[in-house]
């Protein structure tokens, strides 16, 4: 990986700039003078705001990246994709069931998938997007949920799909269905909620709230710590 010291040539929306080696794409945009409003978010790889499409002068193959996590390369031609008019189905999670039929009703375009794999190629998180679509079509909600978990919803897959599918919204629907209906219930959670509502901890909390700081410090020191 290159160290700072050299400058390299990059092209931001076709315009040539020279920036130091070793910057991320976002840092390079800012170095070139762009004060970003769109195309920037968490700056840490979690939010998908900085979806970027690029190729190189010597290699026209389109590539995809999150600008905050990708180092600029010499002769990079880049553009950000800060928004895309992707469709979204509206639903009430309480009114639907975790089935392939429900997914199909909400996202009927899913049957149009050509299997071209453009979505997978465009994913900056290296997810198996096309597999998720065929899993969803088969109603394998658990598989979609596992495979799509790292999705930051950047929108690149929807932008590149020639059939207008919106894989990131389909996957989100599957994950919500899994969490709501297919994840095993946690009985201890319900028990505790009921105990709290019945006031079982009220007097202990009242005592702690009114305790002097000295006594509270003592109580804190005396805590037993559960082994990890």
């Amino acid at each position: 990986m290159a160290e700072v010291g050299e400058v390299i040539d990059i092209y931001i929306m076709g315009r040539h700039y020279q920036v130091p080696e070793g910057l991320t794409i976002i840092q390079a945009l800012e170095y070139a003078g762009y004060k970003l409003i769109r195309g920037v978010g968490c700056r840490a790889g979690f939010c998908g705001a900085c979806a970027t499409i690029y190729n190189n002068k010597n290699d026209p193959q389109l590539r995809y990246a999150l600008a905050c996590q990708t180092v600029v390369e010499p002769e990079m031609y880049l553009v950000q994709l800060p928004f895309f008019p992707a469709g979204k189905a509206f639903y009430d999670l309480e009114e639907i069931k975790p089935s392939g039929e429900v997914i199909l009703n909400l996202y009927p375009d899913i049957v149009k998938c050509l299997g071209c794999n453009s979505c997978t190629k465009s994913c900056p998180q290296d997810l198996e997007v096309m597999e998720c679509m065929s899993d969803a079509l088969r109603g394998d909600i658990a598989a979609v949920s596992i495979k799509s978990f790292d999705c930051v919803m950047c929108g690149l897959c929807a932008a590149r799909c020639p059939q207008g599918l919106v894989p990131y919204n389909i996957a989100l629907l599957c994950r919500r269905l899994y969490g709501r209906y297919l994840s095993l219930p946690s009985k201890h959670l319900q028990d505790k909620i009921e105990e709290i509502a019945a006031g079982e901890f009220d007097s202990e909390l009242e005592e702690l709230k009114n305790m002097s700081e000295d006594k509270l410090r003592q109580r804190y020191k005396e805590r037993t710590i559960e082994p990890p």
């Binding site: 978990f149 969490g179 909390l205």
Partner: protein, 540 residues
């Protein structure tokens, strides 16, 4: 890939690992903690803070960068703005689109209020998405809200407001259940019970997580739910000033369209500030884990209408920010790496602090290790750090643990050719969390009629130092409470005419205090651009 120099230190770390696997570094006494904090924690670096010269917290200390903004002048000239034409007229206005804002908007709507959520960037662009390790809740038989209360108070230095902590810990299991009912995927054991891990300063293992994507998972779901319920959302529309009515109640806000520079006027019977943190002000010159928009805007807006802030002189520096490679300097290395078993190790391969102490003391001791004890690792561009021995995790908990529990961390470092299952991570403290903020009560109400606050921008519940997992609890507990309280408040309110009286009063107060050449505030966005000669710089 690590450079050769750093590999030499890694070799020492690998040589001591077998011994260290059996070692537990002793916990510090409360006296030792206080001493190290005073000597090494950035809160105590006096040049970084100053006293506020005007306003509800006059005389209190705050970081210089924040103090300048709190004392700043409004963008709006009350003589020039026309408040006659309303662009939006609602029961509840939520300012901020992260976890707290989203929860507040959903609950306000559920409680019958016409609701508008406005946000500076996109819905969901907030510190929430970067939160990784999880959300605390005392929901197991051998745990209780009372123990959670005690942990929280101790972590906060016993300065926390008791009623707020009580509400936090009692609502916690409800929040876990609420999020699950919306479709959040909590990590579970094969029998369906929650997979719960320890955290720094917690005496029970009660961290609920979704791999190390907890905040992203929570935010993705809430954002989708807001869209499903067709809640009104305006993106790229930060509030630049609050509005009052003729009775001194908060009655709305003026919004700025960041892309067109148009101003719009929102009238609202209640306003909820959910504007998050202020890490992009880079206190004490630290890098930050915070998102691009974390500039403390809500603090400025609240301060100007007379709301009191609390604990503004303390910030949380997450002990483990990325120290190498420099492209991701300051980004979060989740505390979960430590809760899973990784130790903090100096350049000689030795531990120097128990990794599960609270964040303030761990941060202070890493700074001490680098500065006073000179046992940090220094990279080629002068950044000092210590090792976080991540490969220990798979040794302790079985091969594949890191891949299963820390996929985001694995991915982040793989992009830079570092395999954290085999090599340690270089870390150094990074500015992470605003411990204090706008003082609220248990319903999320501030002292100003009609003004509520929720999430990182409010203060009191965490005392002077927040525990892991209590922020992604705070945002939902107080987001929900503020949403409900604001909706109920709005039902009883008939607003007078809109005014910017507070801006006039502020102009007078700051003039009397002899303040001049203050920046306009709120900051809105940081400026990382590098300019050599611009039109603006030529204008005089």
């Amino acid at each position: 890939m690590y450079p050769t120099e750093m590999e030499k230190s890694i070799a020492k770390l690998e040589a001591t690992r077998e011994r260290r696997l059996k070692e537990t570094f002793p916990r510090l006494s409360l006296d030792e903690i206080e001493s190290f904090l005073e000597r090494f924690h950035p809160d105590f670096w006096a040049e970084g803070t100053r006293q506020l010269r005007v306003g509800p917290n006059k005389g209190d200390r705050a970081p210089k960068e924040l103090a300048d903004l709190l004392e700043g002048k409004s963008y709006i000239d009350p003589e020039q703005i026309d408040l006659g034409k309303l662009d939006y007229d609602v029961d509840v206005l939520v300012i901020g689109g992260g976890g707290a804002g989203a929860s507040a908007a959903l609950l306000a709507q559920e409680n019958g209020a016409s609701t508008l959520l406005v946000t500076k960037l996109r819905l969901g662009d907030a510190n929430t998405v970067g939160a990784q390790a999880g959300t605390q809740a005392a929901d197991r038989p051998d745990d209780s809200p009372a123990i959670h209360y005690l942990d929280t108070m101790g972590g906060g230095g016993f300065h926390n407001i008791p009623e707020l902590v009580e509400v936090l810990v009692k609502d916690a299991p409800l929040v876990i259940k609420w999020l699950e009912s919306l479709g959040v995927n909590w990590d579970k054991e094969p029998d369906g019970s929650m997979h719960e891990l320890p955290g720094g300063g917690t005496s029970r293992n009660r961290m609920h997580a979704a791999r190390d994507y907890t905040g992203l998972e929570e935010m993705r779901v809430l954002r989708d739910e807001i869209r499903n319920r067709e809640l009104n959302v305006l993106e790229f529309s930060p509030a630049v000033e609050l509005l009052l009515d003729s009775n001194g109640r908060v009655a709305g806000a003026i919004l700025l369209n960041l892309e067109t520079n148009e101003l719009s006027v929102v009238r609202a019977k209640a306003v909820i500030l959910a504007t998050g943190g202020s890490g992009r002000l880079h206190y004490q010159g630290f890098p930050t884990t915070n998102h691009y928009g974390a500039t403390g805007d809500g603090l400025v807006l609240a301060y100007r209408v007379g709301a009191k802030l609390i604990f503004m002189d303390t910030m949380q520096y997450h002990p483990t920010g990325v120290a190498y490679p420099r492209q991701i300097l300051g980004q979060l290395v989740t505390e979960k790496v430590r809760t899973l078993g990784a130790q903090l190790v100096n350049t000689d391969g030795e531990q120097f602090i128990n990794p599960l102490e609270t964040r303030d003391i761990v941060a202070a001791c890493i700074i001490r290790e680098c500065q006073e004890r000179q046992k940090g690792v220094v990279t080629s561009n002068g950044q000092c750090g210590v090792w976080l021995d991540s490969p220990m995790i798979d040794i302790i908990r079985g091969r594949g643990t890191i891949a299963r529990e820390l996929p985001a961390m694995v991915r982040q470092f793989t992009r830079f050719d570092i395999d954290i299952t085999h090599k340690p991570i270089l870390v150094y403290p990074t500015l992470h969390y605003q411990n204090g903020g706008i003082r609220i009560d248990a319903s999320g109400a501030t002292g100003i009629p009609g003004l509520f606050a929720a999430g990182e921008c409010e203060g009191g519940v965490h005392g002077r130092n927040r525990l892991i997992g209590n922020s992604t609890l705070d945002i939902f507990v107080f987001g929900r409470r503020a949403g409900k309280a604001a909706a109920q408040w709005g039902k009883g309110v008939k607003l007078g005419s809109l005014s910017l009286e507070h801006v006039r009063r502020w102009q007078e107060e700051t003039a009397r205090a002899g303040l001049s050449s203050r920046p306009a505030s709120p900051r809105l966005l940081p400026d990382y651009t590098r300019h050599e000669q611009t039109l603006a710089s030529l204008a005089t």
